[in-house]
C-alpha cells in the first residue's frame, strides 16, 4: 500500500532539491549590484504607491464569497453540460434542482443588496 506512494516522495524530494539548489546557486554565484530601483517591491512594473497591509472594504469579502459559490456551481456545470444528453431525465432534473437552490441564494443576496457597490 505505502510503496505506491514512493513516486510522490521522489517527486517531492526532487522538487525540494531543485528549488533550494536554484536559490543557493544564485546567491553564491550571482554578481551583486544593488540599486534602489532594483530593491523596490515588484508591483507589475509600476512604482509602489504605499504599504500592502492596508485595510480593504468588507465588500470585497462578500463579493469574494459569492464568487466562490457560483464558481463552484460552474465546476459542476461544465462536465454535466458535456454529457447531459446521456443523463436525461434524471441527471437533467437533478442539475436543475441544484441550480434552483443556488438561485434562491442569488435572489436572497440580490434582494438584500449585497450586489450593490454603493
Amino acid at each position: 500500500m505505502i510503496e505506491s506512494y514512493v513516486p510522490i516522495l521522489v517527486t517531492f524530494l526532487v522538487a525540494t532539491f531543485i528549488g533550494s539548489a536554484i536559490i543557493v546557486l544564485s546567491t553564491v554565484l550571482a554578481k551583486r549590484n544593488p540599486t534602489p530601483i532594483k530593491l523596490m517591491p515588484y508591483e507589475c512594473g509600476m512604482d509602489p504607491i504605499g504599504g500592502a497591509r492596508q485595510r480593504f472594504s468588507v465588500r470585497f469579502f462578500i463579493i469574494g464569497m459569492l464568487f466562490i459559490v457560483f464558481d463552484i456551481e460552474l465546476i459542476f456545470l461544465f462536465p454535466w453540460a458535456k454529457i447531459f444528453n446521456q443523463l436525461i431525465p434524471f441527471g437533467f432534473i437533478e442539475m436543475l434542482l441544484f441550480v434552483l437552490v443556488l438561485l434562491v441564494g442569488l435572489v436572497y443576496v440580490w434582494k438584500k443588496g449585497a450586489l450593490e457597490w454603493e
Binding site: Y5, Q86, G91, V104, G105, Y108, K112
Partner: protein, 481 residues
C-alpha cells in the same frame, strides 16, 4: 446511457423537508414586510412536524442508501427524532427570544433548519466523507447562529473563536480520515471495520483513529478539547446555546458511537483506555469549574461539559447496554437542558441583561411556575429521582459496573454529588433569597409556555415511566453490535 445510482429519496425525506422549508423561509422572508421572523418560525415548526411524521417509517427500514453513503436504520431513526425534537423546541424558545430583542431575523430559522439537515446526514452517514460533510454543514450553520445578533461584540467574538477552533478540529478529523484511507484503502465504515478486524493494523491506521477521536471529542466538548465551550456558550444567543448543547452534542455523539463501535469495535481495548481518561478529566474539570461560576450560562456550559463526561462513561463500557444508556441519556438531556435554557431566555430579558445567578433571587415568589420548572430541570441535571436525568445516569453507571469499570463509576458518582451543590445554589437563590430591587414581571408568550410545559412534562414522564424509552434505546443500538 450512464447508469443512475440507486436513489432512495423516501429515506432522506425528513432532511429534504427541512431543507426545502429552509429555502422557503429564506425566500418568503424577503417578501414579507413585517413579522418575517414569525413567518420563518411557523414554516420551520410546521416542517419539523411534517418531518417527524416522515421520519417514522425509517425505524423499520434498515437499508443502506445512496450507494452505501448513508444507512437508514433504527439508530438513524432515533437520532433523527432527537434532532427534530431539539430543533422544534429551539424554534419555540427562539420566537420569544427574538421578540424580546426586537429583532426580525428570519434567516435565523432558515440557518437553524439547514444546520439540522447537516446533523441528519451526520447521524446516518456510513462513510467518513458523508459524516464530514454533515459535520461541516452543521458546524457552519452553528458558527453563523452564534454571531447572529447584530451589534453584539460578545457574540461576534464567540462566533469567531468557534469558527477558528471548529475549523481546526474539522481539519484534524479530515486528516485522521486521510490517514485511515492511506492505511486501509477505504473510507466506508464497512471497509474500515474489515481492515481493523484483519488484525494487522498499522501505526498510521491507529494515528488516524486517534485523530478522529480528537475531532469528535472537540465537538462533544470533552476535556481537554473543551476550551471553546464556555466562551461560545456564553456569547451565543440563549436559545442557540441550548441548541448547541443538545442538538450538536447528540449528532456528534451519534457519529462518534457509529464510527467507534462499527468500525473500530475490534480495537476497543485501545480506545476505551483513552476514553476512560477523557471521561474522568471531563467530569472532574467540568464540575469543579461550574462550582465557581456566577453567570448562569457559563455554569450551564461547564455543566454540559460534565454531562459529556457522563455520556463518555457509556462509551467506555462498550456494551449494548452502555450505548442504549447514552441514547436514553441524550433524550433526557435534550428536554432538560432546552427547558433550562428556555428559563434562562425568559429571565434574561432584552439584551440578555439578567444572566447572573443573582438575577434568580426571589423568582420563587414572583413567578412560582417558572421557578418550579427551573427546579425540576436542575434536579434532572443533578440526577435526582423522579426525573429523567436520574434514570439516564443510573443506566449509564449500571452499564459501566456491569463491564467492570468500578472506579470510573465511583468518580462519576462523586463528581455528580459535587454538581448538586451548584445546581442547588440556583434553587436556593430562587426560593430563599430576595432581590434587592423587585424587577418587572416577565411576560410569557404562547410558544414559550408551550415549550416549558412540554419539557417539564416529558422530563417527569420519562423519568417516572422510563421502560418504553429504555426499550426503544436498546432496540435502536442493535444495528451497532
Amino acid at each position: 446511457m450512464i447508469p443512475v445510482p440507486e436513489i432512495n429519496l423516501g429515506g432522506v425525506l425528513p432532511a429534504l423537508i427541512l431543507g426545502v422549508a429552509g429555502l422557503l423561509a429564506t425566500l418568503l422572508g424577503l417578501f414579507v414586510r413585517k413579522g418575517a421572523a414569525t413567518v420563518g418560525a411557523i414554516i420551520g415548526f410546521t416542517a419539523v412536524l411534517i418531518a417527524l411524521a416522515a421520519n417514522a417509517p425509517l425505524r423499520f427500514m434498515n437499508t443502506p442508501a445512496f450507494s452505501g453513503m448513508i444507512v437508514l436504520d433504527t439508530f438513524s431513526w432515533f437520532f433523527n427524532l432527537l434532532i427534530l425534537l431539539s430543533v422544534g423546541l429551539t424554534i419555540l424558545i427562539s420566537m420569544k427570544y427574538l421578540t424580546d430583542q426586537g429583532l426580525d431575523l428570519y434567516e435565523y430559522f432558515a440557518i437553524l433548519l439547514f444546520s439540522s439537515v447537516g446533523m441528519m446526514f451526520m447521524v446516518s452517514g456510513t462513510h467518513l466523507l458523508m459524516i464530514f460533510v454533515g459535520l461541516e454543514t452543521l458546524s457552519i450553520g452553528v458558527y453563523v447562529l452564534t454571531g447572529v445578533l447584530p451589534k453584539s461584540s460578545k457574540a461576534s467574538e464567540a462566533s469567531l473563536k468557534y469558527l477558528l477552533l471548529g475549523s481546526f478540529s474539522s481539519a484534524l478529523f479530515l486528516y485522521g480520515a486521510a490517514l485511515l484511507y492511506g492505511a486501509s484503502g477505504s473510507l466506508s465504515l464497512a471497509g474500515l471495520a474489515k481492515y481493523f478486524q484483519s488484525g494487522s493494523v498499522s501505526t498510521m491506521g491507529l494515528i488516524g483513529m486517534g485523530l478522529l477521536l480528537v475531532g469528535f471529542s472537540f465537538k462533544v466538548a470533552a476535556v481537554p478539547f473543551h476550551m471553546w465551550t464556555p466562551d461560545v456558550y456564553d456569547g451565543a444567543p440563549s436559545p442557540i446555546t441550548g441548541f448547541m448543547s443538545v442538538g450538536v452534542k447528540a449528532a456528534a455523539f451519534a457519529a462518534f458511537l457509529r464510527v467507534f463501535f462499527e468500525c473500530f469495535g475490534s480495537a476497543q481495548v485501545t480506545w476505551s483506555h483513552i476514553l476512560w481518561i477523557l471521561a474522568v478529566l471531563t467530569m472532574i474539570l467540568g464540575n469543579l469549574a461550574a462550582l465557581v461560576q456566577s453567570n448562569i450560562k457559563r455554569m450551564l456550559a461547564y455543566s454540559s461539559i460534565a454531562h459529556a463526561g457522563y455520556i463518555l462513561i457509556g462509551m467506555v463500557a462498550g456494551t449494548a447496554m452502555g450505548a442504549a444508556g447514552i441514547l436514553y441519556y441524550l433524550l433526557a438531556y435534550i428536554f432538560t437542558n432546552l427547558g433550562a435554557f428556555a428559563v434562562v431566555t425568559m429571565v434574561g430579558r432584552k439584551g440578555e441583561a439578567n444572566i447572573s445567578i443573582d438575577d434568580y433571587r426571589g423568582l420563587g415568589k414572583s413567578h412560582p411556575a417558572l421557578a418550579l420548572a427551573m427546579s425540576i430541570f436542575l434536579f434532572s441535571l443533578a440526577g435526582i429521582p423522579p426525573t429523567a436525568g436520574f434514570i439516564g445516569k443510573f443506566t449509564i453507571f449500571g452499564a459501566a459496573i456491569a463491564s467492570g469499570y468500578i472506579w470510573l463509576v465511583i468518580i462519576g458518582v462523586l463528581t455528580s454529588a459535587a454538581s448538586v451543590f451548584y445546581y442547588f445554589r440556583v434553587v436556593m437563590k430562587m426560593y430563599m433569597e430576595a432581590p434587592e430591587v423587585e424587577p418587572e414581571s416577565l411576560k410569557f408568550s404562547p410558544s414559550m409556555a408551550l415549550a416549558l410545559t412540554l419539557t417539564v412534562m416529558v422530563v417527569l414522564y420519562i423519568g417516572i415511566f422510563p421502560t418504553t424509552y429504555l426499550n426503544l434505546a436498546t432496540e435502536s443500538v442493535k444495528s451497532l453490535f
